[in-house]
Amino acid sequence: MPKMNIGILSKRKTMLAGRLKNCLENKGFSVSFYTLENLVINETLLEQDFFILKSKSLFFLYAGYFLEANKKIVIPNPQISFIQKNRIHSHFLMKKVGLLTPDIYLGTAETFKRQLDLKDFPFILKPIMGSGSKGVKVIKSFNDLKKKGILYLEKFIKGVHYNIYFIDNNICTLVKPPLANEHVDMKKIETPDDIKDLINKWINFFNGDLLFGHLDIVREESSNRLYVVDPGSFPEFTNWKCDIEPIETICNLIIDKYRKLRKNHNKY
C-alpha cells in the first residue's frame, strides 16, 4: 500500500497539532503542515491524500471548502467547524438541536444605549467569528460599550461554568472560572447525568461526523438549567484529566473516519 500523505491545516505546528503529527508519522504516514505562512489555496494543495482541519480561522476554513469542492476528504468537516466558529450559526444550531443557549443581541453601541434595559446587565461581548475566550468581555454598563460597528452581546448567565470535552464516547467534565480559556487550571468532576444527556444529544445531531470537541456550559444558579455558551470543534484538550489518552484516540478516530469516508467515496 502506498504511503499516505496527510496535510494538517493549523495555525501552529506545536501543541496538539505537533503531537498529532508525531502520532500519524509513527503510524507510517507522511504529514505536512499548512500554516498561515505557507498555505496557498489553489490546486497545489491537491497533492495530499486527505486533510485535518485543526484551526478554524477563516483561511483554514476556506482551504477546507476548497478541498471538499475538489473531492478531498477533510476531517473535521469544514461546515461543521464553521457553524461552531460563527456565533450566529452556532446560536441557531443550538436551538435546532434543542439545547438552551443565552439570548443574543446585535446592534451598535448607540442602539444599545437607547434600547437596552439597565436591569438586563451584565452582558458578554463576543466576536461573531470566534470561539473560546478571545475577544470576550463582560459588559457591566453602557460605559463598557465603546467599540464601533455592529456588536454581538449575549446575556450573562450567572452560575457554575463547565468545560466539557468529549472524544468519541468519553466525556470529561471540568469546572472552570467564568470566561477563562481552555488552558487555565480546572477541577475535574464526575459528569452529571444531565450533562451526559446534553453531550450525547449534541453528538448524535451530527450523525457520526462529530468525533470529538468541547462545549462550554453554564448551569444557571437560579434555575439549575444548562446553557451552552460556546461550542468548539477542535480544542487542545490541555485539561483532559480522564481515562483515555487523547492524542492517540483522536489520531485513531481520524484515520478510521478517513477510511470510512474513502470507502463511501469509492462506492460512487
Binding site: N42, I104, Y105, L106, G107
Partner: protein, 271 residues
C-alpha cells in the same frame, strides 16, 4: 395590503432606494429595519410581514436574514446562503466554478507569495462594506498588476485585518457586461471597463439578450440561491468570464428598475 419589511443600512437608505420606496409605498405597507438603529434580539421579535427584502449585507443584516429563515416561514430576498456567498469572494468563486460557470483563474495567497499567473487583479476577500472599487494600477515589464485599494487596506490597515490576498487572473476585455437577474427576468447592459473609463454610467448601454450569459445568470442564481443579483462579465478571445457577483445590486440603473424590483417582491409576498 401587503406588508413588506425592508432590512437596510443608512447608506443604502440615503442613496439607493428613494424611487423604490416611493413606488412601493403606493402599493404596500413598509416597515424599515435600519442596521445602525435597530436592536436585534431574536427572542423578543414577532414578525407579521408578508415578505422581507434585504438591501444591505452587514453583520446585523445577515443575522436578521438568518433569524427570518430559521424561525419564520416568511420569504426573504435574498437568502442567507446567497448573501453570505456573495460577500465571500473566495467561496463564491468556488461555487461558481464547480457549477461550470467560467470564472478567471484565482488563488488565495499569504501576502508575499505571488500568484502563478502573469497579469492579475487583487480583490477584496470579504465584500461587505459600502465603498467603491478604487483601482491601483502598476505596469512593469509588460506585466499588469491591478489592486483594489480596499483589498490592500484589509491586509495592512483597517479591519478585517489578515494576511491574505485574493488574486484573480486579469482578463483584458473591450467591454464589461453587466447582467441583472430579477426573479425569472434577465436584463443586459454593457459598459467600458472601469479601468478605461471610471465613470461607468457614461458608456453604459442596453444590449440584446446574449443567450450564453442568460444561461450563466440562471445557473449562478440557482447555485447561490439568489433571486436578485447583478453579474459582471468580461470577454476575452470569445470566452466570457464571470468576474463579480452582487447580492444587493443597484437596480436604479435598469430602466424602471425600482418598479420592476418592487413588483417582483409583491409577487413573491406570502399569499
Amino acid at each position: 395590503m401587503k406588508k413588506i419589511g425592508i432590512i437596510i443600512d443608512k447608506y443604502h437608505l440615503k442613496y439607493k432606494v428613494s424611487d423604490f420606496l416611493k413606488y412601493l409605498r403606493s402599493k404596500a405597507e413598509i416597515v424599515l429595519y435600519v442596521e445602525e438603529s435597530f436592536l436585534l434580539n431574536p427572542s423578543k421579535l414577532n414578525f407579521d410581514e408578508d415578505i422581507f427584502f434585504a438591501k444591505a449585507k452587514g453583520d446585523l443584516v445577515l443575522t436578521f436574514i438568518k433569524l427570518v429563515e430559521e424561525e419564520t416561514s416568511i420569504p426573504i430576498i435574498n437568502s442567507y446562503k446567497g448573501t453570505w456567498l456573495a460577500i465571500n469572494r473566495f467561496l463564491n468563486s468556488l461555487y461558481l466554478k464547480k457549477a461550470g460557470i467560467p470564472i478567471p483563474d484565482y488563488t488565495l495567497n499569504p501576502k508575499g507569495i505571488i500568484p502563478q499567473f502573469r497579469d492579475y487583479i487583487i480583490k477584496n476577500i470579504i465584500d461587505q462594506k459600502n465603498y467603491k472599487f478604487k483601482p491601483i494600477v502598476h505596469k512593469e515589464n509588460g506585466q499588469l498588476k491591478v489592486a483594489d485599494e480596499r483589498a490592500l487596506n484589509e491586509v495592512d490597515k483597517t479591519d478585517p485585518r489578515y494576511n491574505y490576498l485574493y488574486y484573480q487572473k486579469f482578463i483584458k476585455s473591450k467591454w464589461e457586461y453587466k447582467i441583472y437577474g430579477i426573479g425569472e427576468d434577465v436584463y443586459f447592459y454593457k459598459q467600458l471597463p472601469i479601468l478605461i473609463n471610471p465613470n461607468k454610467i457614461e458608456s453604459r448601454k442596453k444590449i440584446d439578450v446574449i443567450p450564453e450569459l442568460e444561461e450563466y445568470c440562471y445557473k449562478a442564481m440557482e447555485v447561490m440561491d439568489l433571486k436578485l443579483t447583478s453579474l459582471d462579465f468580461l470577454k476575452s478571445k470569445e470566452q466570457f468570464f464571470l468576474t463579480d457577483i452582487n447580492c444587493t445590486p443597484n437596480f436604479n440603473y435598469i430602466k424602471n428598475g425600482p418598479q420592476i424590483v418592487a413588483n417582483y417582491l409583491l409577487e413573491q409576498a406570502k399569499k
